[in-house]
């Protein structure tokens, strides 16, 4: 799931590149390089803080792949105990949930993608809508430079160019020297409603990847911290068969 999260966070943006101004496109393109990989496996721990009170840690393993222009992702909860074995499967805009408590699979409505996923500050769209579907919905524009957490960054605005876009605007901050995403601000109804920050960059397969990121919700007293434990690009653990309803049913 991490890769997917980051993909969205990073706005994984092939199509944006085709629509936006050149300089902004180049910058976003270079920053996205770190997140490109056909098959990604990761495990992570996610902690939601409600009014500064930590909720049970959610541990999960995530599989994702891009094939024939489609984005596939599968996230399986390892903890907390109640949710162990519960899984989310996304194929492009379609979302299914398998409940471990009952073993049943439910297909979610497409509108559910804007909702909070698993009580975190990420929406299902944040977690999985990293393919061309989202990227086609924004237009980039370089706003200038700004220092964020002591690093000089490009400040790029991504304006929704499609009414289906999950946010009306995003502002991304990408370091000028290393082309790393440092922060993303999400806007809805003219206000910055959420912000995601990235840290603990480590080299994986010759590319920098953030092993920690935090989404802060500005409309509720809530934030979600994610720590990545394992991150493998082009991983052999990712199999085509995982991204089927049949596999969902077999998860224990």
């Amino acid at each position: 799931m991490n890769k997917i999260l980051i993909l969205t966070a990073a706005v994984s943006l092939f199509a944006i590149l085709n629509l936006g101004a050149e300089s902004a496109e180049d910058i976003v393109n270079r920053a996205d390089e770190a997140f490109k990989g056909e098959r990604v496996f990761s495990t992570s721990s996610m902690t939601v803080y409600k009014s500064e009170e930590a909720q049970p840690v959610q541990k999960m393993e995530s599989y994702s792949m891009e094939k024939n222009g489609k984005t596939y992702s599968l996230s399986i909860y390892l903890a907390p105990r109640r949710m162990k074995g519960t899984a989310n499967l996304m194929i492009e805009d379609d979302l299914w949930v398998r409940f471990s408590s009952t073993g049943r699979i439910r297909k979610m409505s497409s509108s559910a993608k804007k909702n909070s996923a698993g009580g975190t500050d990420f929406s299902y769209a944040d977690m999985g809508d990293g393919g061309s579907g989202l990227s086609e919905k924004f237009t980039p524009q370089l706003l200038g430079e700004e220092t964020v957490e002591g690093q000089i960054c490009f400040k790029i605005e991504l304006l929704a160019s499609d009414s289906d876009a999950p946010y009306e605007k995003m502002i991304v901050y990408i370091t000028k020297d290393t082309y790393r995403y440092i922060k993303i601000e999400y806007f809805e109804s003219a206000a910055n409603i959420k912000s995601m920050t990235f840290s603990d960059y480590r080299e994986v397969n010759g590319k920098d990847y953030p092993f920690a990121y935090t989404m802060v919700n500005h409309t509720k007293p809530s934030r979600t911290e994610v720590v990545v434990d394992i991150f493998e690009v082009n991983s052999s653990r990712v199999q085509d068969r995982y991204f089927t309803a049949g596999y969902l049913e077999s998860i224990r």
Binding site: V48, K50, S51, Q55, P80, R81, R82, M83, T86, L95, V97, F99, S101, T102, R104, R106, K107, M108, S109, S111, A112, N115, S116, G118, G119, Y124, E188, S189, A190, A191, N192, I193, H218, T219, K220, P221
Partner: protein, 919 residues
């Protein structure tokens, strides 16, 4: 020293000093007559000590908010909070909370409270919903209900409920959270129905009353307003008064609060009250207490300083009586002209103790110095008045004129402050000049009568000027060095000054630890509702519905309270009516089956359990504890997803699986529940068009104005909107839907904004006025510029020091800045006068003669301001801190910077500082 010729003003002052000290009895009579007249003014003076009373009336948002308070009775509601969190058992706690709410409703509805209470509501009034519930629902909801209640017999009904659950909950945790309260009520109702099915399956008889109660819970939910864990609840009390009814508000809130607390004490729960009028009452009480405390501290401290400095035990009378009389005159004039004192002007009256005493210090110092030099009583008092009177009058008029100039400000608060401040200075000035000579004369008469020699009266009275002379000596030796050091200090702080910020959170200015404020935080945490919401007024109910829908979609909005859901346009009434007509027809043609397929019943109950477990999973992940626990009670699962108790469903499974269920009893039960449910649904499905008149009075009072022309929407935020960052999001998002938002939140912003704008404007006016008064007084532009430079450095240092100390401006302390301009320049003016009087090369004498008096007057002024620091109200405290620091800085720059500048300009550079035409 050259020969000094008294001018007309000085001759008049001298004549009054001589006459009044010799004819003290007649003088007292004159002053008594003036004081009696002022007493009438005091009798008509109102004390309005709330933030609400000083909101700027020229703001649209404030006008709208005041209109809401006046026209929507429920806007002044008091919220009684019943708290049983100390009780561990959730069910016991909930029971106590509900009983507590009922007891509050019963007690406050008694006749004895009718002077203060219009209505008390402990439960949502469901009458309109019961009779027209489906007409208020959108077509999608009607279709959904028609689908769910297509067949009311047990198995088809459970099948439809399961279908509905599976259709509705698909991943929408936000929707679940939004409707948590309603959903919780529904799950409880569902559990009650399951209990009845179990009873009948076990062969027990089920009464109609039980069925009716279970169906009411299922259809209408819980009507009490409870917290997330059901351990707290609230009752809404609509008082007979609003924030405008200052005289009734305090006793009214006190009685309601006392009654609620007594009920809690007697019934084992904690209770408290909050709401806008409660906060208003607390503001009144804490600010009045703060004013009384500050007055006492200031008065006692100032008189002690006077006794210590002058070493005369009669000083408290000689200076204290005119001081108090001056304040009475100020109050009297305020009563005649502006009819009220607000929180700012009342605070100023306390500060006036420290300002007014300065006149007495200057007069008494001069008098004692004359006596020290061997002048007889009458000549000493005449000379004292002549020498000090001019400086006092110029200083007093300078300050008063600067204060009066504020009456051209836009905000009423600043205009009132300008008037009271100006009038206060004038009153004190006149009271001191008129009262001190006759009081000294009376004292002289008493001492003589007791046979004490004239000189012995003052043998112990010495103004020790050594320290001041010492400063004068050093200054004369190194004026440039002093000026450079002070300049450097001023420059350092001036560079910090741009970092100063403005506190806009009114809650940060309230008293700390107030229960009414703490309860607001509890409402946010425990009920997820912020009592300080923004409101919108609309003239059109259709617009209300439209706005409600749009505002409800904003991520910073938890819910919108309005009549929007109850407004049914004629077009909607037609389309909904058609759907309801079909729905009713279907219900009427829905016969009670004479059988129950127990296998199918078991299947649907299994399915129901799975749906509930999955919904519990979602509630768990979404941190919706109330729903999680309610569903857990139905399924027997704990928070971790473990089966920990036998549920109604489990017992039903056992019965049905074992084949030992009583089929006849189940059929009988079906025969009872179907007609009852049908009757309730048919009533709800009334297809007649509805108007807002069908709504209960409590709802109409909340959302329709008294004249019936305006409609109110309360936009409840997801967080405490006083938090600055969230407030920006909340207001920005609201602006995308409507620009008509109002509320204490925005009114507070307006207050801060206008205080900032008007404060700056008033400061500029004050600077200009002071400049021209000084020009008229000194008739020398160079001297005036030097004086203004000293003032400028004092203020830049103040602002810089505030940044360094982390002190913010707020709407209260920012508007006293113009006053500081008038007060802060006084010390430099006195030094100027004495320097001109003594001449070049006499700075040591100037400082020696004036330094002590300046130090004492500054000290008493600082004491007057610092008396606000112990106040529990934070706005008063911050104002006290800022003013005290400001006066200390002004004194230091006047004594350590200004004399050096005078020496440099006059003696080193040789520039003429004397009035035009004099050399």
């Amino acid at each position: 020293m050259q020969e000094y010729k008294e001018n007309m003003r000085e001759r008049i002052l001298g004549s009054w000093a001589v006459w009044s000290s010799q004819n003290w009895g007649k003088s007292f009579l004159i002053l008594l007559a003036i004081t009696i007249i002022m007493g009438f003014g005091i009798s008509i003076l109102k004390m309005e000590m709330t933030f609400y009373s000083i909101l700027p009336n020229n703001s649209n948002q404030v006008r709208d908010m005041k209109m809401i308070m006046e026209e929507f009775p429920a806007a002044s509601s008091i919220i009684a909070v019943v708290d049983a969190r100390d009780i561990e058992d959730p069910q016991e706690a909930e029971e106590i909370v509900k009983k507590g709410i009922d007891s509050i409703v019963a007690k406050l509805s008694e006749e004895q409270f009718s002077d203060y209470v219009v209505r008390v509501t402990g439960k949502a009034d469901m009458s309109a919903f019961k009779e027209h519930g489906f007409m208020f629902s959108k077509e999608k909801e009607i279709t959904r209900s028609a689908r769910m209640y297509e067949n009311l017999n047990l198995v088809p009904l459970l099948t439809a409920i399961n279908n509905d659950f599976e259709r509705e909950y698909a991943g929408d945790e936000d929707k679940l959270a939004d409707e948590e309260q309603m959903a919780v009520g529904m799950f409880r109702g569902l559990n009650e129905v399951l209990v009845l099915i179990e009873k009948s399956a076990a062969g027990e008889s089920v009464g109609q009353g039980e069925i009716d109660k279970a169906l009411e819970s299922w259809l209408y939910g819980d009507s009490y307003i409870l917290s997330n864990d059901n351990k707290m609840g609230i009752a809404i009390i609509q008082p007979t008064f609003t924030m405008e009814d200052i005289l009734v508000m305090t006793p009214g809130v006190n009685i309601i609060e006392r009654t609620v607390k007594e009920l809690g004490h007697n019934s084992g729960f904690k209770a408290g009250v909050t709401g806008m009028v409660v906060v208003g009452r607390d503001e009144m009480v804490t600010s009045e207490e703060g004013i009384v405390l500050s007055s006492l501290i200031a008065f006692v401290a100032i008189l002690l300083i006077m006794i210590f400095v002058f070493r005369m035990f009669s000083v408290p009378f000689i200076s204290g009586i005119p001081l108090v009389i001056g304040i009475m005159w100020t109050m009297g004039m305020s009563g005649f002209i502006i009819h009220r004192l607000n929180i700012m002007t009342a605070m100023y009256l306390v500060a006036l103790l420290g300002l007014g005493i300065d006149f007495a210090i200057h007069l008494l110092t001069a008098f004692i110095q004359e006596r020290d030099e061997g002048e007889p009583f009458t000549e000493a008092i005449r000379k004292a008045m002549v020498k000090s009177g001019s400086g006092i009058i110029t200083g007093g008029l300078t300050s008063a004129t600067a204060f009066f100039a504020l009456v051209i400000a836009d905000t009423e608060m600043i205009r009132e402050l300008g008037f009271v401040a100006g009038m206060g200075i004038l009153s004190e000035l006149v009271a001191m000049i008129m009262f001190i000579p006759p009081l000294l004369g009376f004292r002289e008469y008493r001492r003589n009568k007791k046979g004490k020699g004239e000189h012995s009266l003052f043998s112990k009275v010495k103004i020790n000027s050594d320290a001041a002379s010492g400063i004068g000596n050093v200054l004369v030796k190194a004026p440039v060095a002093f000026s450079i050091i002070m300049f450097a200090i001023g420059l350092f702080f001036a560079l910090q000054a741009p970092g100063i910020s403005l506190e806009t959170n009114l809650m940060e200015m309230e008293a700390k630890g107030l229960e009414s404020i703490l309860l607001q935080d509890i409402l946010v945490d425990e009920f997820g509702m912020a009592p300080d919401s923004l409101s919108v007024i609309s003239m059109n109910p259709a617009e209300v519905r439209d706005l409600s829908d749009k505002l409800d979609d904003l991520s910073s909005v938890k819910m919108v309270d309005s009549l929007g859901p109850y407004y049914v346009s004629s077009e909607d009434a037609r389309s909904r009516g058609a759907l309801l007509h079909r729905f009713s027809g279907n219900l009427l043609n829905n016969p009670v089956s004479d059988s129950v397929d127990e296998d199918m019943l078991l299947e649907e109950l299994y399915r129901l359990e799975m749906n509930l477990i999955e919904m519990g999973d979602m509630a768990y992940m979404g941190n919706m504890n109330k729903m999680l626990h309610t569903i857990g009670a139905v399924t027997g699962f704990n928070d971790d997803g473990d089966k920990v108790s036998e549920s109604t469903l489990d017992r039903l499974f056992s019965l049905l699986e074992s084949g030992e269920s009583d089929s006849e009893s189940l059929i009988l039960f079906q025969g009872e529940i179907v007609p009852l449910l049908k009757e309730k649904l048919l009533t709800m499905a009334n297809d007649e068009p509805v108007t807002l008149d069908v709504l209960p009075e409590s709802l109409r009072d909340s959302y329709i104005s008294r004249d019936g022309t305006k409609y109110l929407l309360n936009v409840i935020p997801t967080q405490n909107p006083w938090e600055a960052d969230f407030r920006n999001i909340y207001t920005q998002q609201m602006q995308t839907v409507t620009d008509k938002g109002t509320g204490m939140l925005l009114a507070g912003d307006q207050l801060s904004h206008m205080a900032e704008v008007d404060g700056v404007k008033a400061a500029i006016i004050a600077i200009v006025v002071v400049f021209f008064i000084l020009l008229i007084d000194f008739r020398n532009i160079k001297l005036v510029i030097i004086t203004m430079i000293t003032l400028l450095f004092s203020f830049l240092t103040l602002f810089g020091l505030m940044v360094v100390l982390g002190i913010k401006f707020d709407f209260m302390n920012i508007i006293v800045v113009p006053l500081l301009i008038g007060i802060g320049v006084d010390d430099a003016v006195h030094i100027n006068h004495r320097y001109l009087f003594e001449g070049k090369g006499k700075m040591k004498i100037v400082i020696g003669k004036t330094g002590t008096a300046l130090m004492i007057t500054s000290l008493t002024t600082i004491v007057g301001f610092a008396s606000f620091i112990p106040s529990v109200m934070q706005a008063m405290r911050s104002t006290g801190i800022v003013l005290s620091i400001a006066m200390a800085i002004a004194f230091l720059f006047s004594v350590l910077f200004h004399p050096g500048l005078l020496i440099i300009v006059s003696e080193k550079m040789g520039l003429n500082l004397k009035p035009w035409g004099k050399k």
